[in-house]
């Protein structure tokens, strides 16, 4: 508890400093209609005041959400965002809610499993009825729920080597060792089984529950060509950029960075696995109403566009497209065009099955 407060930074006072540092942020905030300040930032129209405690792991992403969300929120809505940073795990959330001693109000999930588990165990604050009504049309499918909204999802995508001036598209090409001969690299994770099923022609929306036998059979097909299973997401980037590997699976941000650096790699978004992180409010949060307002504010397309410009990741508002250059838009895992091709990772299924699937996967990987 003291630990969190020790690292807190108060943003009401930091706005001016930050504004000087980043002229763009000020312009954006300043261009908002003057009447907005008089209106409530909560969708129910009633005024809000006081503070809200947001928890994140900090770092460069922490600074980005301060700039894209917290500072403009404080300026417009008059509620101070206290950003506490540190590390946490799922067990702590349960402890907070059970003890009723909730140290912060709002945060984002860290793994695919946290959101479904949190909902199941009643750890998340339920949003009021009709909370999303006004903006639900602009949100990507599945990006909002009665407990939260997408924070900044990322995707598992295909990275391929452009050393031989080839272009690959989709997982079927990944499996096509005749047209694209050479070694492949996949993540040492049973998540690869979902990719195998997509390659085998299973439609993205019928993926779960995973047909494990079919997935392993499809993996068997490719196994002679999979020379390595990576444990660090930089490995497939290095591997394909040097031509050592024809293609690999990795996280979208790594490929975009490598492409910007002029490395010889290409990206295919077809059949991307979208890992949806969720912004949630803890059950029993002391400033729940302010947290609701902040969560609502974070869905604004212009703010999400701002976050996208800084980090390459953003939330689920499909209207960000209007506020971004095509160059930025085409790098986003949540760009409407990419979401349409992606399959959202079913965190609930994985939470229930990971133990069994992981064991089978481990045995499959080392089997000769």
């Amino acid at each position: 508890m003291t630990n969190y407060e020790g690292k807190s930074r108060r943003h009401a006072t930091g706005v001016l400093r930050a504004g000087r540092r980043l002229g763009v942020g000020l312009v954006l905030a300043g261009s908002l209609p003057a009447i907005a300040a008089a209106q409530s930032c909560h969708p129910d129209g009633d005024p809000i005041e006081g503070q809200v405690y947001f928890f994140s792991s900090g770092g460069s992403y922490g600074r980005a959400i301060e700039e894209a969300y917290f500072e403009p929120f404080t300026e417009e809505c008059g509620v101070e965002v206290v950003h506490t940073t540190g590390t946490r795990n799922f067990a702590q959330l349960e402890q907070f809610v059970e003890s009723g001693n909730v140290p912060w109000d709002i945060a984002a999930t860290l793994t695919d499993q946290e959101y479904p588990l949190g909902v199941e165990k009643g750890l998340f604050h339920k949003l009021p009825d009709g909370f999303w009504t006004e903006i639900e049309d602009e949100m990507s499918e599945g990006a909002i729920s009665e407990y939260g909204a997408w924070a900044a999802p990322y995707s598992d995508v295909m990275v391929y080597s452009t050393v031989g001036e080839v272009e690959m598209e989709g997982w079927a090409d990944f499996w096509d060792t005749e047209t694209f001969p050479g070694p492949r690299m996949m993540q040492n994770s049973p998540m690869s089984l979902a990719i195998a099923l997509l390659a085998d022609g299973v439609p993205a929306d019928e993926l779960y529950p995973l047909d494990l036998d079919r997935a392993f059979a499809k993996m068997d097909e490719l196994k002679p060509s999979i020379r390595a299973f990576w444990s660090s997401a930089e490995q497939p980037i290095q591997g394909t950029a040097s031509g050592e590997f024809v293609a690999g699976t990795t996280w979208n941000g790594r490929v975009i960075t490598a492409m910007k650096d002029g490395k010889d790699v290409g990206i295919s978004w077809e059949g991307a696995l979208l890992h949806s992180s969720w912004t949630f409010i803890l059950e029993g949060a002391p400033n729940a109403r302010n947290a609701e307002a902040l969560m609502y504010f974070m869905q604004r397309p212009e703010q999400q566009a701002k976050l996208a410009e800084i980090t390459g990741y953003t939330g689920g508002n499909a209207r960000v497209a209007e506020f971004l250059t095509p160059e930025v838009l085409e790098t986003l895992p949540t760009a409407p065009e990419h979401v349409a091709q992606a399959s959202v990772v079913d965190g609930k299924w994985w939470a229930e099955n990971i133990s069994e699937v992981q064991g089978r996967w481990d045995a499959w990987v080392v089997a000769q």
């Binding site: 070694p183 040492n188 994770s189 999979i226 020379r227 390595a228 299973f229 444990s231 660090s232 490995q235 290095q238 591997g239 040097s242 031509g243 050592e244 990971i354 133990s355 992981q358 064991g359 481990d362 045995a363 990987v365 080392v366 089997a367 000769q368």
Partner: protein
């Protein structure tokens, strides 16, 4: 490593200092008590960070599926991937130990024969190489062994190959990087032993007309044999617990025990299986140590006494 440093240091410092300090005023019983007192911090620390966690792991490993059960051990011994992973671990550790000692021994023999000043400088240089983090070393090997890396360039330049060859994600890559990591450790331990070699025995043998091979076998080897086997043991133990090299440079066939334990812990949130794996690894290493001590031809007491000299 620490053991090596201790061994090396104990020649000059160690218990004898306390002996010298206290001998005059204290009775021999008091000296003995004081010696044990000096040992106390190390013992307490070892108990706290080695034995207590091991006992906890033991408890965890037999408390699988609630209630006492040897299920976790059965899984680790019979169910894939564990037997394969255990085999990988010991095979790779064995190969690494062989090559690390093969390459370290001549260097150590050379350093041990230099003046104490020169050998001090050389040893310091070896120790300096340990400043480079193991991660940096492994990533460096990724670059060196890559298709576009300097080694492939060299091979093509001298005309040995036409097209770049794939060296990464192979057992060779794992072994090379681990041998590279282990050589300094082995070297330091061996130098400590080789500096204690009594060369008058060797000169005597030579004066009496013994041939080089015989001198080595009868006069030199017996003097270093114990330390040599102990060094091999330490390198083997360190190698079998290695994680970074197989994770970053190995293919699926190089999955080692540390990787499997990490996977069990971080994706399955299961502590019973990794605990059982860890206990089995510890037991195997105790067994290997036992064999090593038997190989020295002496009892464990003799072995430790020799090392503490």
């Amino acid at each position: 490593m620490t053991q090596g440093a201790d061994t090396y240091a104990s020649k000059k410092a160690g218990p004898s200092i306390s002996g010298r300090l206290f001998r005059r005023r204290a009775s021999s019983g008091q000296v003995k008590a004081l010696r044990y007192l000096l040992l106390a911090p190390a013992v307490v620390l070892t108990v706290l960070i080695v034995f207590v966690p091991l006992l906890m792991a033991l408890g965890e490993s037999v408390g699988f599926d609630d209630g006492w059960s040897l299920e976790a051990f059965r899984t680790v011994l019979t169910q894939s991937p564990y037997p394969i992973v255990l085999k990988n671990t010991f095979v790779i550790a064995g190969i690494v130990t062989f090559f690390a000692l093969l390459l370290a021994a001549p260097a150590a023999a050379f350093i041990a024969r230099q003046s104490s000043r020169t050998s001090g400088v050389l040893l310091a240089l070896i120790v300096a190489s340990l400043w480079i983090s193991v991660l940096v070393k492994m990533f460096a090997w990724q670059v060196v062994l890559g298709r576009l890396g300097p080694l492939n360039d060299l091979l093509r330049f001298i005309g040995l190959t036409d097209a770049p060859i794939s060296m990464l994600y192979t057992r060779g890559a794992v072994v090379i990087s681990m041998v590279h990591f282990m050589i300094p450790h082995a070297c330091i331990l061996l130098v400590a032993a080789m500096r204690r070699v009594d060369w008058e025995i060797i000169i005597a043998a030579s004066t009496l007309g013994a041939k080089a091979g015989l001198i080595f076998r009868e006069a030199y080897w017996p003097q270093i044999r114990l330390s040599f086997i102990m060094t091999a043991l330490i390198v083997f133990v360190l190698s079998s617990a290695f994680f970074v090299a197989p994770a970053l440079l190995g293919g699926p066939g190089e999955t080692m025990i540390g990787m499997q334990m990490k996977s069990d812990l971080s994706t399955r949130y299961d502590s019973g299986l990794p605990a059982a794996t860890g206990i089995l690894l510890t037991l195997s290493l105790i067994l290997v140590s036992g064999i090593a001590v038997l190989m020295t031809g002496g009892s464990f007491r003799k072995a430790t006494r020799e090392l503490a000299k």
